[in-house]
Symmetry: C2
């Protein structure tokens, strides 16, 4: 596949040549200086989200890339502002995260492997802090730290279950202080969330300095700045804060930058990437992790609140198979026509449309079309949307690229044009001054459809700690299964009358949110019995295959 | 400091624009395709080595850069082919590894931090193999591995003593199998040694596949290829195999690539980097880690034997302070004039000059001049060299850059010109067919000046294992203190009559050598009480200071 020179892609977006730094073949980093050159110019922000997916996912990234390509075919200067993939899944089950079929980001293999080194820089910064923390444990300076209360974990960008629970510092006095410890995959590091939310190097340094790494022997919180870590971490992250420029399969620009976990973090691409897109493009297509209940809520209540950004509208991705799944069809049969299951599944969709309205946003329904989807099923969905005042577009981006996304592009442009006179104003589900319990309740009732919220005794203790550390006025980052509106992954459709149980609350003082966990959240995946690594081949010409599923 | 555009630096060396891939500001990777475009053209290879250093080091890298700059000022197309630094020391004691003063590599801060991501790629490849090995331990497939005999260790590019001895796989059945494990710093990974020695992607894949990772329950060796790791590791290392192009402070080209440890590995920059230099430059200045006894011996007996390369001559770096140290002056007083200590120190130098001759190579003595060095001391050294037929050059590269290295450049050119008619032929200290014990003995007697060699019972058992695994015809990679010619770091000067004690032998089947360890070798450094990380500052303009000592 012949790619455009990346300088040309940057020029199309209007970036000055000096601001585009090539970083390996067909990749570039964009200087943050470019942000200051466009005055008040602001493109229109489109948020791509989805209903709760079936386990294989709904193709949100594929639809986002397709939409950007469709808009470009309509003569718009459109850019996709997306998350960057982690190395871990490439060797695990899922494979790469660069869209699919004819709607992918390129160079896909490079983006899925080292890209421009952002994940590596985050791993290094995370582990530099860990080494400095344990060095303070060891020497008792520059601050004494209680070895039984170290909170900072090490990171590795690899699916490695053996590192979930470890004991470190063994081997005698010269080699540390034995203590229990753990590794997270890099995307789950608070450093990733911080990088994604930082506006500039100064903001980055301040946020890193605030991270709570443990407690002193007398119970006082110890922060990263107390072990002199913040500036060194910024040195490690300096380049990583610049957004990455790549291209869609059709040669249009894409800003792919930062990829925090969608559970224990907010799951959005970087603030600087979004700002860069808005400064230069007519439309910026961005996505938030998982379904609207998790990803979009956090995008709006955390990322948008933090930045003052607000989208013009939402593209809600659905697949007929997921609707049938939510309507009670077994996963193995969702590819078959089943009008009754489909109709029952509309209740699930309806809840998400209510949530979109709760944020005061217009929406377009985007059907990620599969070959088996029938016209009559599509008509039923179209009619359902019409009744609720929502237009539907069938997108065949996977098989036909931007050509297959023209209907979607037109519907989105119509939605955006309708907001030009009076763009939607930010509207949040809760105020920061509310208590943490009230904030969680607001999210759970409005977006999940819960009857109430309960906190375990342990979570209530966590909340006390959050208050002591001065974190109670931060927004809440919900960690919940993405497979159900409720906190029970087996409940499809539109669960009602349930009580959401918060089991644990963690403070991410640097990222600037508290995390409310509603179940066991695994922050270090494992490899499956047959790792994807086995499929990978490097050919004589240096071409790599096997990084993506079905390749 | 204003740097030249890296494309221009590549063009000066004669590289085609297509072969120079920019990789971040002022850095580039050179396509391996460039190797095939110069036919049989071969520049002249100069090996920079040193006497055994004082603990602060002798400034070998600084002298290498200075020599390359001096040669360039004499109108030669000269390139420095050097090792790339590891992230670990940057935050530890030593600071960055890009030369010093007016003889440094640029962009120094970037080279010392992420550079082009090679170290990160090596860490990832190392840890991908570790995850695949433990996944096989866990599932018992594709091959069963005895969890008590896993030999492959994880890697991190960080000084982190708490990771030297760990227990992993805790937390119950879902999270692995508890077992003792360890982390090495990335430069100590066999993957680094393999990358440095590989000729191309195919060679890289074969070497990786041969790595012995552990044993099956019935005692058979398990190799990386048995857990399907080799091709996926090559995918991770593909870009890292391309040599990196940067510039000297005076704008000349430098190929900076790979940096294996000088103790448990061979301590030389990459084979492809050296080959690239020889294909394009008139002179290639390369260095080997530590003193001549360790670094140069391994450069010649391992890297050169492996590739068919052979230098035209040696530059032996000395400092007056180190000679006085070897002559018995206490470290605190080596800056003071002490003619008697200096004269006694010549015995140490004499041994190294004998070793150079044992390899059949001519040498130039290079004095890395310090401000306190007096003319009369320099004259004494010059006279000592003259008696042994070796020319001396005083190099003030640290303070005066290439201008301060003109005498050195002239002496080196004279040495090289004298070899044009009959270039020195490869001459090794031992034949591969000799037994491992005989190989170690040959090195110890000829280069260290040992009376004999002894093996502990444990080392003899290791040698049996090496034989069983088919490794006895591999060259020997000596791991010995770099502070003495002997295996006792406290013995300066020219120790005689000692018996070298080999305590352990390891097999690096992928790199293609066996490692004979003569003492405790620490493969994961720790941070000091006052980590260098504390000095680092990121300024408002993005400039980083504090990465190098004395900055």
């Amino acid at each position: 596949m012949k790619l455009r020179p990346i300088a040309e892609v940057g020029a199309e977006l209007g970036l000055a040549p000096d601001d585009v730094h090539p970083w390996g073949t067909n990749r570039a980093k964009v200087s943050l200086d470019a942000l200051g050159k466009q005055g008040d110019r602001q493109g229109r922000l489109v948020l791509v989200s989805a209903i709760n997916p079936t386990p294989p996912g709904e193709g949100k990234t594929t639809m986002s890339v397709a939409l950007a390509m469709g808009l470009r075919r309509r003569g718009r200067k459109a850019v996709a502002a997306l998350r960057e993939p982690s190395l871990g899944p490439v060797f695990g089950v899922k494979g790469g995260g660069t869209g699919g079929g004819q709607s992918s980001l390129e160079p896909a293999a490079d983006i899925n492997l080292h890209f421009t080194g952002d994940l590596h820089a985050i791993t290094s910064a995370n582990n530099l802090l860990a080494a400095l923390v344990d060095n303070a444990v060891y020497y008792g300076q520059p601050v004494a730290i209680d070895s039984t209360r170290v909170r900072w974990r090490r990171a590795m960008d690899m699916n490695d279950r053996f590192l979930r629970n470890v004991i470190i510092g063994l081997g005698g006095k010269a080699h540390g202080v034995p203590r229990e410890a753990a590794f997270d995959i890099t995307a789950a590091s608070e450093v990733m969330a911080i990088l994604a939310l930082s506006e500039n190097l100064k903001d980055l340094e301040e946020r890193l300095g605030r991270v709570v790494v443990g407690h002193s022997p007398d119970g006082k919180p110890v922060r990263a700045r107390d072990v002199d870590a913040a500036a060194a971490m910024v040195a490690v992250l300096k380049d990583a804060l610049m957004p990455n420029l790549v291209q869609t399969r059709e040669g249009g620009p894409a800003l792919v930058h930062a990829g925090p976990f969608g559970n224990i973090a907010h799951g959005c691409s970087s603030v600087v990437g979004t700002r860069m897109g808005l400064a230069y493009a007519d439309e910026v297509v961005t996505e938030a992790g998982f379904g609207f209940d998790l990803g979009a809520e956090k995008f709006l209540d955390i990322k948008c609140r933090n930045t003052g950004l607000w989208p013009r509208g939402v593209v809600l991705v659905v697949t007929l198979r997921a609707l049938k799944y939510h309507g009670g069809a077994p996963l193995a049969r969702v590819a078959e026509p089943d009008s009754a299951a489909l109709a029952r599944g509309f209740a699930h969709l309806e809840k998400h449309l209510e949530s979109v309205r709760a944020f005061g946003l217009p929406a377009v329904l985007c059907v990620n079309r599969f070959p088996q989807d029938t016209e009559s099923e599509l008509d039923e969905l179209r009619a359902f949307g019409k009744e609720r005042g929502v237009e539907m577009a069938v997108c065949e981006g996977f098989t036909r690229g931007g050509e297959g996304a023209l209907e979607l592009a037109d519907r989105v442009l119509a939605m955006l044009d309708a907001t030009d006179a009076a763009p939607p104003a930010p509207r949040f589900l809760y105020e920061l001054k509310q208590s943490p319990e009230e904030k969680v309740r607001a999210i759970a009732r409005t977006v999940y459809g819960a009857e109430d919220v309960a906190f375990t005794a342990s979570a209530r203790k966590d909340l006390e700690m959050v208050r002591e550390l001065g974190g109670s006025e931060l927004p809440v980052c919900m960690a919940k299964t993405h497979l159900s509106l409720s906190d029970d992954a087996t409940k499809q459709g539109r669960p009602r009358g349930f009580t959401l149980m918060v089991r644990e609350v963690r403070l991410s003082a640097g990222a600037g949110f508290m995390v409310a966990l509603t179940g066991d959240i695994l922050t270090m995946p494992g490899l499956p019995r047959e790792p994807a690594a086995k499929r990978i081949t490097v050919h004589d010409d240096g071409r790599i295959t096997g990084l993506m599923q079905g390749e």
